[in-house]
């Protein structure tokens, strides 16, 4: 009996429901394209409509996980870890991007892609505190961190490229998280739960 593995089941369930990251990644890509005013995205209403559609797309994902893998209410410690990760994430994205490269007088104004670095740090912290880093997290988010930190981002503000890269990273990381989730908890539908759990 592996105690740690059983105790980690809730954290795995909470953090590895990776399909949620796909619409989030798509939202980042849309934001970048919107900033570049590509096609219909030059109209704010078109961006808003697509963003709402992506938000609505989270409902069937939530239903898929609930129906096939059940529901949990996380423990206080899981909530606390999540809150710490969120605070670090927001601080990293807002503070880090202002510090590394912005118009603020105290900015270091480095030739780096601040947004890519900040998203990568936020996600590495989130996974690190929540469920522990897996190989694909290190490769994807570590890769984004390194790419963003290379001193090649001279010239125009590279934030949009960072947003686009973060969006792609979210989607790929989410799909690989989901694959790990299925490997951990089994393929969907295996339990034949159409009639509810009828348990206990």
């Amino acid at each position: 009996m592996r105690r740690a593995q059983l105790e980690k089941a809730a954290a795995n369930y909470w953090y590895l429901r990776g399909l949620f990251l796909v619409p989030l990644g798509a939202l980042c890509v849309l934001s970048a394209l919107g900033n570049w005013q590509v096609g219909p995205l030059r109209h704010p209403w078109a961006f808003l409509m697509l963003a709402l559609l992506l938000g609505a797309g989270c409902l069937p994902i939530n239903r898929y996980y609930n129906d096939n893998y059940g529901r949990i209410s996380p423990s206080t410690s899981l909530h606390v870890r999540g809150a710490i990760a969120l605070v670090i994430g927001v601080a990293a994205i807002l503070g880090g991007s202002l510090l590394l490269r912005s118009r603020a007088p105290w900015s270091l104004d480095l030739p780096v892609n601040a947004l890519a670095i900040c998203f990568a740090i936020a996600m590495l912290a989130s996974y690190g505190f929540g469920v522990g880093l897996h190989a694909h997290h290190v490769v994807i988010w570590g890769g984004l961190l390194v790419a963003g930190a290379l001193p090649v981002w001279n010239g125009a503000d590279p934030s949009n490229i960072g947003l686009l890269a973060a969006g792609i990273a979210f989607a790929i990381s989410g799909l690989l998280d989901h694959r790990l989730f299925v490997k951990t908890f089994g393929p969907p539908g295996r339990l034949a739960l159409e009639e509810g759990d009828v348990g206990a």
Partner: protein
């Protein structure tokens, strides 16, 4: 081994692998439903039901039955007594392991 067992008595109700798995998973959440427990422990529906009934009779878990989108949904949480007993049981197992390593 019997001498060790006498020295560190184990809770027989909890020591059964299925029930130990259920209580360990529940100790890491506030509450979980039947489907999640089945996924996390790998037990069959019948086995899980039977173990949960025993744990409920012993006052270690609280079971609430409800309907979610017109389907039955069973929600399970550890009671305070259940939390205390599973923590104590894992400590006992650790002690046994330590004593076994020394022997």
């Amino acid at each position: 081994m019997s001498a060790l067992s006498e020295e560190v008595p184990l809770d027989r109700l909890i020591h059964e692998p299925g029930r130990l798995a259920i209580l360990t998973v529940l100790s890491s959440v506030r509450e979980a439903d039947f489907v999640f427990l089945q996924r996390a422990t790998g037990l069959t529906k019948g086995n899980l039901s039977s173990h949960l009934a025993k744990l409920e009779d012993a006052g270690l878990v609280a079971i609430e039955k409800r309907f979610v989108r017109r389907k039955p949904n069973t929600n399970i949480a550890l009671t305070a007594e259940g939390r205390r007993r599973i923590e104590r049981h894992w400590k006992q197992l650790e002690r046994l392991r330590t004593l076994g390593d020394r022997a």
